[in-house]
C-alpha cells in the first residue's frame, strides 16, 4: 500500500504545484488576474461542475460511473422553472426538485446495483431519459423571472468578500464527503468495493446498499447543482447543464482518481477543480481560443490516466530489476471495466 500512497501523494503535490504555476502564469498574462472581480469569475461558473465532481469521485472510486449528472441538473432546472411559473413558491419547489434528484439517483442505483447492469450504459440511458423528461416538462421555454432572494444563491457573494456562495457550498460538501471517504467506515467500504466488489461482499460489505446510496447521493447533488445553475443564470432551461458530464469526469480523473476504482482522494479532486478553473481563466484572459482549451482539456483527460499508468509500470519494472517482489499480475486491461 505504501508505494501507492506515495504515488498518490505525489499526484496531489503535482496538482498544488500546477495550481501555483498557473496562478503565476495568469498574473504574468494579465494584470487583472488577481483582482477580486476576476477571482469571482474564475470560480463562479465551474462550481456546479465542482459540486457534482464530489459524489462522482465516490462513485468512480467504487468502480462505477454516473454519466447522467448533467441531465439531472437540467431536469432539476426544468422542474424548478415549471413549478415557479405555475405559481409554486420557490422554497417549496427546491425540496421537491431535490427529492426528484434523489429519486433519479435511486433509479440509477437500482438498475446498476440490484439488477447488475453496467453503469456506463445505464447512465447513458438515463442521460437521455432525464434530459428528455426535462424537455417534456418545460419544452423550449425559458423561465426567468425568479425572485432576487433566489438569484442571490447562485450569483451573490458572502457579504464583504468576493467569494461566491456556491464556492462555500462546494467547500462544505468537500469537507463533508472528504471526511466520509477518508475517515469513516463507509469510506473504507467504498474503497473496498472499488478494489474488489466480490471480496468486499464476502467480507460482509453491503455492496448493493452502498452503491445505491452513492447513486442517490449523486442524483441529489446533481439536482442541487441544477438549482444553483438556475439561480446563477437566473433562468430555468431544459437544456441547462448540457456538456457538463465531460468536465466533471475530467476533473475527477485529473484529481488522481483511478477510473477502475479503488483509489483516489477528495482533496485531489478539489485541487483539480481549482487547477482547471485557474487554467481556463488564465487562458481566456490571454485570449486563447476556447477550441484550444477544449483540445487541452481532452488531452489532459487522457494524460491524467496515462501518466499514473506509466509511473506504475515504471515502478514495477524497477522493482523487478531490483530483484524484489515479483511484478503484480498486470490487471490493467484495455477497454472499460466489465460489470461486477
Amino acid at each position: 500500500m505504501t508505494p501507492v500512497a506515495r504515488l498518490l501523494a505525489r499526484w496531489e503535490t503535482l496538482l498544488v504545484i500546477a495550481v501555483l504555476g498557473l496562478v503565476v502564469l495568469g498574473t504574468a498574462l494579465s494584470p487583472v488576474f488577481l483582482t477580486p472581480g476576476n477571482f469571482a469569475n474564475l470560480i463562479a461558473a465551474l462550481m456546479e461542475v465542482a459540486i457534482m465532481a464530489l459524489p462522482m469521485t465516490l462513485i468512480i472510486v467504487a468502480g462505477e460511473i454516473d454519466l447522467s449528472v448533467e441531465s439531472m441538473a437540467g431536469l432539476a432546472s426544468a422542474i424548478l422553472g415549471f413549478l415557479w411559473a405555475a405559481g409554486v413558491p420557490i422554497w417549496v419547489g427546491i425540496p421537491v426538485v431535490l427529492a426528484i434528484g434523489a429519486l433519479g439517483g435511486l433509479m440509477n442505483g437500482l438498475l446498476v446495483a440490484r439488477a447488475g447492469l453496467p453503469s456506463l450504459v445505464v447512465t447513458l440511458g438515463t442521460l437521455a431519459l432525464f434530459r428528455g423528461l426535462a424537455l417534456i416538462v418545460l419544452g423550449p421555454r425559458g423561465i426567468s423571472d425568479f425572485p432576487d432572494a433566489f438569484t442571490e444563491l447562485g450569483f451573490g457573494r458572502v457579504p464583504g468578500t468576493p467569494i461566491p456562495w456556491p464556492f462555500v457550498i462546494f467547500i462544505a460538501l468537500a469537507v463533508l464527503l472528504g471526511i466520509m471517504l477518508h475517515r469513516t467506515w463507509i469510506g473504507r467500504q467504498i474503497y473496498a468495493i472499488g478494489k474488489n466488489a466480490g471480496a468486499a461482499r464476502y467480507s460482509g460489505v453491503r455492496v448493493t446498499r452502498v452503491k445505491i446510496g452513492l447513486f442517490v447521493l449523486s442524483g441529489l447533488i446533481a439536482s442541487l447543482a441544477g438549482i444553483i445553475l438556475t439561480s446563477r443564470l437566473s433562468s430555468a432551461r431544459a437544456d441547462a447543464g448540457a456538456g457538463m458530464t465531460l468536465t466533471v469526469v475530467t476533473v475527477v480523473l485529473l484529481g488522481g482518481v483511478n477510473i477502475f476504482g479503488g483509489s483516489g482522494t477528495i482533496p485531489g479532486v478539489a485541487l483539480a477543480v481549482i487547477a482547471v478553473a485557474v487554467m481556463q481563466n488564465a487562458l481566456r484572459l490571454a485570449s486563447v481560443t476556447v477550441e484550444v482549451q477544449s483540445i487541452a482539456l481532452g488531452s489532459l483527460l487522457i494524460l491524467s490516466v496515462v501518466i499514473p499508468t506509466f509511473a506504475h509500470q515504471a515502478k514495477s519494472a524497477i522493482d523487478r530489476v531490483r530483484g524484489g517482489r515479483p511484478p503484480p499480475a498486470d490487471s490493467i486491461k484495455q477497454g472499460e471495466r466489465a460489470a461486477t
Binding site: L8, A45, T161, D239
Partner: protein
C-alpha cells in the same frame, strides 16, 4: 496518506487565504458574470478595421448569437465599415452554438478586457442581463441588436425592423403565395427562446386573426435552432406530416434556406411555397425556379453599420439612450434623424421585400 492529506489541505487553505487577502486589498466587490466550463466558443483575434484604435477610435466588443451563423457575418461587414471610418477596432467573440449560458462568459471577458462598448445579439434576454448590467456599471456602453437583452441591460437596442410591420409582412407574403390566400401554412423558426423570432411570430399570429387571412390555417410551428441540419429535418417533417401544406414561413435566414432546399429536392416547388426572411444571395436560385417567389429582409450590413455608430455615439456622449433623443447617421435613413423610442429602442427601418423584379440587384 494522513500526511499528504494534511499537507494538501494546508496548501489549499493557504491558496484561499491568499485570494481573500488580495480581495480585501481590492475595491468593492460587485457581482460578476460567470465564467463557464463548457468548451464551445471562440474568440477570434481582434479584427482591426483600419489599424489600431487611434485617438477618437474605440474598441468595441461584438458578441453575436453564435459565430457560425452567416447573418452575423453579414452584419459584421457593416460594422467593419463603420469602424474603418471612425478609426476604431472590433473584437468578435462568441459561442459556437446559440445558447445563452455560453454567451455569458464572453461578456465577462469583454468587461475584464475593458472594451468601450459591447454590441450583442442575445441568445436569451434574461440570462445575459446580469453580466451586461455589470458591464454597464463598469462604464461600458451596451448596444443590443437583432435580438434584445432584457430592458435595463442595455443602453440602446437597435431593432432591425418594426416588429408589428414584420408580422404583417410575413402574413401578407403567406397570403400572396397560398392559392387564393387559402390553405395550410406552417412556421419554421429558429431557436425556441429567441426573443426576436418569437415576437415576430406572435405578431404574425395576431395579424392572421384578421379577416383578410381567414382562409389561412396555421397548422404548426417547429424549431430549427438555426442549425442547417435540424432545420432540414424539421422542414422534411412538415412536408410529410401536412400533405396539404401550401406555404412554409421561415423568419430566419438559416431556416428559409433549408426549407427551400427541402421543397426543391422533394420536387414540390409548384405546390409548396417558401417565404420568410432570407439573404438575397441564398435565395436567388429559388426565386428563379419558383420555390420562393417572395421573401424579405433588410440590409443586414446597414444594421451592423448603424449599431456600431450608435455605440460610438454613446461612448462619445452624443447620446445617452434616453427616449426622445435624436441623432443622424450619414448614409442611412436617407440622412434623416433617428429618434430613440420607448425602452431605448431605435428602428433601422421597414422590412424590404424581395422578388424576381429586384433580387438580382442585391449582393449579400
Amino acid at each position: 496518506m494522513l500526511k499528504s492529506l494534511g499537507r494538501t489541505i494546508a496548501l489549499a487553505s493557504a491558496a484561499i487565504v491568499v485570494f481573500a487577502a488580495c480581495s480585501n486589498g481590492g475595491g468593492a466587490s460587485t457581482p460578476a458574470g460567470g465564467s463557464a466550463a463548457p468548451p464551445a466558443g471562440s474568440a477570434a483575434p481582434p479584427a482591426s478595421a483600419g489599424g489600431s484604435a487611434a485617438a477618437g477610435g474605440i474598441t468595441v466588443g461584438y458578441l453575436p448569437k453564435d459565430i457560425v451563423n452567416q447573418y452575423f457575418a453579414a452584419a459584421k461587414t457593416g460594422m467593419d465599415k463603420a469602424a474603418t471610418e471612425t478609426g476604431g477596432t472590433i473584437v468578435q467573440v462568441g459561442p459556437n452554438e446559440p445558447k445563452a449560458d455560453l454567451q455569458v462568459p464572453f461578456i465577462s471577458d469583454l468587461t475584464t478586457k475593458g472594451v468601450k462598448a459591447i454590441i450583442i445579439s442575445a441568445d436569451g434576454k434574461d440570462e445575459v442581463a446580469p453580466a451586461l448590467k455589470q458591464a454597464m456599471s463598469a462604464g461600458i456602453k451596451v448596444v443590443g441588436f437583432d435580438s434584445s437583452p432584457a430592458v435595463g441591460a442595455y443602453d440602446v437596442f437597435v431593432n432591425q425592423v418594426d416588429f408589428s410591420g414584420v408580422g404583417v409582412n410575413l402574413s401578407d407574403w403567406a397570403c400572396e403565395l397560398a392559392p387564393s390566400c387559402t390553405g395550410d401554412i406552417a412556421i419554421l423558426s429558429a431557436s425556441a427562446t429567441a426573443t426576436n423570432q418569437n415576437a415576430w411570430i406572435e405578431l404574425m399570429k395576431t395579424t392572421l386573426a384578421g379577416d383578410k387571412y381567414k382562409g389561412l390555417k396555421l397548422v404548426d410551428t417547429v424549431y430549427g435552432d438555426d442549425k442547417p441540419e435540424v432545420s432540414t429535418t424539421q422542414a422534411q417533417g412538415l412536408l410529410t406530416k401536412y400533405p396539404n401544406l401550401k406555404v412554409i414561413v421561415a423568419p430566419t435566414t438559416v431556416g428559409i434556406l433549408a426549407a427551400a432546399q427541402v421543397v426543391k429536392q422533394a420536387g414540390k416547388s409548384d405546390s409548396v411555397k417558401v417565404t420568410g426572411l432570407g439573404f438575397p444571395n441564398d435565395m436567388k436560385p429559388f426565386v428563379a425556379d419558383g420555390t420562393s417567389p417572395v421573401f424579405g429582409l433588410w440590409s443586414v450590413p446597414d444594421l451592423g453599420y448603424l449599431s456600431y455608430q450608435v455605440a460610438a455615439k454613446l461612448v462619445s456622449g452624443e447620446i445617452t439612450g434616453k427616449e426622445g433623443e435624436t441623432f443622424t447617421v450619414k448614409g442611412l435613413n436617407k440622412d434623416q434623424p433617428y429618434t430613440i423610442g420607448k425602452d431605448s429602442v431605435v428602428i433601422l427601418g421597414p422590412a424590404f421585400r424581395f422578388d424576381k423584379t429586384n433580387v438580382d440587384q442585391f449582393n449579400f
